[in-house]
């Protein structure tokens, strides 16, 4: 079942679903449903909605999302991994049960492609950095153990240990976790393929975790052994040796804070003013708190607590200490920079490419604006952006659970298959609802149809425009009265040229849509060549006999298979299917 090409949809009603969800049938249902592009379950009970979600959750390694707006959707929302509630017409029951809620279905696209993606990115970067900085901080004690008789003597001052994770390094990473963006939101919508790393778990898995940890351990090695090697025989310019415990502690602590700050500066991809304040502010906070703690005032209040008096002031004035810190920083950061640069250069991910082009475009636009008289060009640039954006933001409706009667009737009636609407009209007329009749009458009054082809102009689903004066393909008499062969002939005469489809890109839409609308588009464009043939045809009586139903069904199936292949051939570049 996995190598099914072509696009199918499964429409299953509540009654059938009740059978399909039985224990012996559910595997079949799962297999079939997952082979389809879209599954529409109509007239289902709330319990069945939840059962379908749970079926997927149980057997497939996928994250499920359920979106609904009514109280009947609550069980489904609760059982999915991510529940989204729509607040609005049906009340706020769904909202109260959901993880996310918003007002319109179309916001789902933004939720997933923009906010979901950013959230995943931020979380992964945050985690990676957190492990790194804590390993860099703690492993220094491990190396020091070899030189202090494994007596668990700390390298740093006790107050530094307390405040490191609270004050000195928490704010920058918090800012990164809140504000970071790799590509702007418009680009996220424009290139949905950027969503892939989240689905494939690429940004934080065992491998990435291992890399973070190793980086932390390497940093701790450098942070201990460089001061060890430099300070063990060094002295101040007043000849007091620098190898005392307090100088060593201050040097190592300063080097650590500087190195992890440089690392967060490298990790942050989106520097808002808050990021700047937090990063530079944390560094400043470190120095000010350290100098305050090592001051004489605090010492005089409690000598046993603040016995580091005078260390920071004495240590940080030595050139050797700063040279040590600079050396340690460079040794820690240069490999990281080199690796990242090589990765960006040789194997850029899609997000890197998008980011790069975005920045290049920004620069070009700035340059163009600066060169004067480029207000127009600038605007043109932005409109092209707008157009691109608009193309990416096309509205798609993907309702899975229909609860309103109107459309369901329509879909099952086959009304919108214009090829044989004449024949089907007879079938449909049995179930005609007033709404459809009204539409039919409206159409009838607008278009100049050949006599008797009243029902032939039944306009299909409202969103499509049937502006052409030519009567539709369906007017060919062969469908109804003629032989099956003739019918096939007629259709084939009309289906081959794919050029009309391509010539009217506006009317053809993505083929991820339910087949009905694809048919719709195709039928519209094939009106072109059929224009000549249309009016000449004698229109048979619209009131078809029920006998014509079997024939028309076969014709429909033929049409389906032909149009599908047409669609595949003409592969217009729509947004990739989700």
């Amino acid at each position: 079942m996995d190598n099914i090409s072509g696009e199918f949809a499964l429409v299953i009603s509540g009654h059938s679903l009740a059978h399909a969800l039985e224990a012996d049938m559910e595997a079949e249902l799962l297999m079939t449903a997952c082979a389809c592009k879209a599954v529409i379950c109509c007239r289902v009970t709330p319990m069945q909605k939840a059962l379908v979600v749970e079926l997927i959750k149980k057997h497939k390694k996928a994250v499920t999302l359920a979106i609904g707006d009514g109280a009947n959707d609550v069980s489904m929302i609760k059982s999915a991994h991510i529940g989204v509630g729509i607040s609005g017409q049906e009340g706020i029951q769904a909202v109260l049960a959901s993880d996310y809620s918003f007002a319109q279905f179309r916001f789902l696209q933004r939720l997933l492609l923009v906010h979901g993606r950013w959230s995943y990115l931020r979380m992964c970067r945050f985690l990676c950095y957190f492990f790194y900085k804590n390993f860099a901080f703690t492993m220094v004690h491990f190396w020091f153990g070899f030189f202090c008789g494994f007596s668990a003597q700390t390298v740093y001052d006790q107050y530094f240990i307390t405040l490191y994770n609270i004050l000195y390094t928490s704010l920058p990473v918090l800012a990164m976790g809140i504000f970071d963006q790799d590509v702007p939101d418009r680009r996220s919508l424009e290139y949905p393929k950027l969503y892939e790393p989240g689905q494939l778990n690429l940004l934080f898995n065992k491998r990435e975790f291992f890399i973070c940890i190793s980086q932390g351990i390497y940093t701790s090695l450098v942070l201990f052994f460089v001061p060890y090697a430099v300070l063990s025989n060094a002295s101040q310019d007043t000849a007091e040796p620098l190898a005392d415990y307090q100088t060593f502690a201050v040097t190592t602590a300063t080097a650590l804070v500087i190195v992890v700050s440089v690392q967060i500066a490298l990790d942050t991809g989106y520097w808002t003013i808050i990021n700047h304040v937090f990063v530079w502010g944390s560094l400043g906070l470190f120095f000010s708190i350290m100098l305050a703690m090592h001051s004489q005032t605090l010492f005089s209040s409690s000598p046993n607590q603040f016995h580091f008096v005078g260390s920071a002031q004495s240590t940080l004035l030595q050139p050797v200490v700063w040279l040590t810190i600079a050396l340690a920083t460079v040794i820690c950061i240069v490999p990281v920079l080199a690796f990242r640069f090589l990765k960006l250069d040789l194997k850029p991910q899609l997000s890197d490419t998008v980011r790069y082009t975005q920045l290049v475009r920004q620069k070009k636009r700035k340059a163009v604006c600066f060169s004067g008289g480029a207000g127009v060009r600038g605007a043109a640039g932005s409109t092209s952006e707008g157009r691109l954006g608009a193309r990416g933001g096309s509205r798609r409706s993907g309702y899975a659970f229909a609860h309103q009667e109107g459309f369901g009737e329509l879909i099952t009636s086959g009304k919108n298959m214009r090829l044989s609407s004449l024949a089907l009209a007879s079938f449909a007329s049995r179930h005609s609802s007033s709404w459809i009749d009204t539409l039919r009458k409206k159409k009838h009054s607008h278009t100049p149809t050949p006599p008797g082809a009243a029902s032939g102009d039944s306009s299909p689903a409202p969103s499509c425009v049937s502006g052409s004066a030519a009567p539709p393909l369906s007017n060919s008499p062969s469908v109804l009265g003629g032989s099956q062969d003739a019918a096939i002939e007629e259709e084939e005469a009309r289906t081959p040229p794919p050029s009309p489809l391509q010539a009217k890109p506006g009317s053809s839409t993505s083929h991820a849509r339910p087949p009905s609308t694809t048919l719709l588009a195709a039928s519209e464009s094939t009106q072109g060549p059929s224009t000549g043939g249309g009016p000449g045809d004698t229109a048979p009586s619209a009131q078809g006999e029920s006998g014509g139903w079997t024939l028309s069904l076969g014709a429909v199936q033929e049409a389906l298979s032909n149009w599908r292949s047409l669609g595949v051939r003409s592969s217009s570049p729509g947004p990739p299917s989700l």
Partner: protein, 372 residues
């Protein structure tokens, strides 16, 4: 409920009840604020690692580090240093007897004389250090074992030292012993060898003048360590306390001739109390002032006279004396210079390699390559 004034077919964003019908009561809009902060539109700088930023940065680092390294290396090479190990492990060493015959309760100290020769004269101030090896002044129990408020001259702590000083808190021999001043293991293990230098020239043995003050940190000497009750009459101040277990004399007899160097503010004591970070360390002992018209230490024969009081054989320790000159970067430190030169060249080399790789494999795609 939101249903008031709500249109079934409304599709475009104005879903709040209030704006349309102004008088329908104050139905607050649930729409989030359209501020830059809440809509994540804050203006931001988005750095990107391009070849134009990374490669010049590497080149610059390389170009800065290499000259610094060379400067450091040259400076370090100009510093003169001389080391004499006088532990007395080998039988041929002058201090062998003193090392072997050491006993804790000997009243007279053993002296040994270690001869050495200086090839080059030492100019400017010369600093004399004593160095110890395999001595773990950074052991956690050892580092804790002190009472900083007692050392700061606090009278309460003088008479009742902190519990951290155990077992060197009160003197033995009495059920409730006298408090020890200064308490703790660090103070108890004070280095008490006496080292003297003699210059042997033309058959005469002249003592080199050694300054014993100016060897401690300023904050230590003037802020951290204070004598209880001022610097005068220390005997009275320390009445009711006992000397540390392994000391020969009590603390107020460390330097009776100089009240500014006696008691807790004795500079040798202060230098010792500043614990070292590593098991092999050196501490400043004496300063030899520079002479006006002659080198501070002329080249020639010298003799180091040691009053051997400090036992290190039991833990395989080593004792040594280091004579060194000083520059702006401190003492002799070849590691720093070499490390800078190495890191600078590695950076430079890396920059060249990355440049080559970048040119060969540059496939930074334009926007046309992005799948649309």
């Amino acid at each position: 409920m939101m249903a008031s004034g709500y249109n079934a077919k409304e599709e475009d964003g104005h879903h709040s009840g209030a704006p349309g019908n102004g008088g329908a009561g104050a139905v607050k809009s649930k729409k989030p604020d359209n501020t830059a902060f809440k809509q994540q539109r804050l203006p931001a700088w988005q750095p990107i690692l391009t070849a134009g930023t990374v490669l010049p940065a590497f080149f610059v680092i390389g170009l800065i580090f290499i000259p610094i390294g060379i400067g450091l290396f040259v400076t370090s090479n100009n510093i003169k240093e001389f080391e004499i190990d006088y532990t007395g492990i080998e039988a041929s060493s002058p201090c062998y007897n003193c090392a072997q015959n050491y006993s804790w309760n000997s009243t007279s100290s053993c002296t040994c004389k270690v001869p050495f020769t200086l090839e080059q004269p030492f100019e400017s101030n010369v600093f004399m250090y004593y160095g110890l090896s395999n001595f773990y002044q950074n052991h956690r129990r050892y580092v804790k074992s002190r009472d900083d408020s007692q050392l700061n001259g606090d009278l309460t702590s003088l008479k009742s030292p902190s519990k951290e000083c155990d077992p060197y808190r009160t003197s033995d021999g009495l059920p409730i012993g006298l408090p020890i001043a200064p308490c703790g293991a660090i103070a108890n293990s004070l280095f008490n060898d006496t080292l003297e230098l003699y210059h042997l020239s033309n058959g005469t043995r002249t003592a080199v003048v050694l300054m014993k003050k100016g060897i401690a940190w300023w904050t230590d000497k003037h802020v951290k360590f204070r004598n209880p009750g001022g610097n005068d009459n220390l005997t009275l101040a320390f009445q009711g306390t006992s000397k540390p277990v392994n000391w020969r004399t009590p603390v107020f007899e460390l330097d009776p001739n100089d009240p500014d160097n006696n008691g807790f503010i004795n500079e040798d004591f202060i230098v010792w109390m500043r614990t070292a970070a590593l098991p092999t360390f050196r501490k400043l002992y004496r300063i030899i002032q520079k002479k006006v018209d002659a080198p501070t230490l002329a080249s020639g024969k010298y003799e180091l006279e040691v009053s051997y009081n400090y036992p290190v054989r039991s833990f395989d320790g080593r004792k040594r004396v280091i004579l060194s000159t000083i520059s702006w970067m401190g003492g002799k430190n070849p590691f720093l210079g070499i490390a800078y030169i190495t890191v600078g060249s590695v950076c430079f080399f890396l920059a060249v390699v990355l440049l080559i790789i970048h040119h060969k494999y540059d496939n930074r795609c334009s926007s046309a390559d992005i799948p649309n």
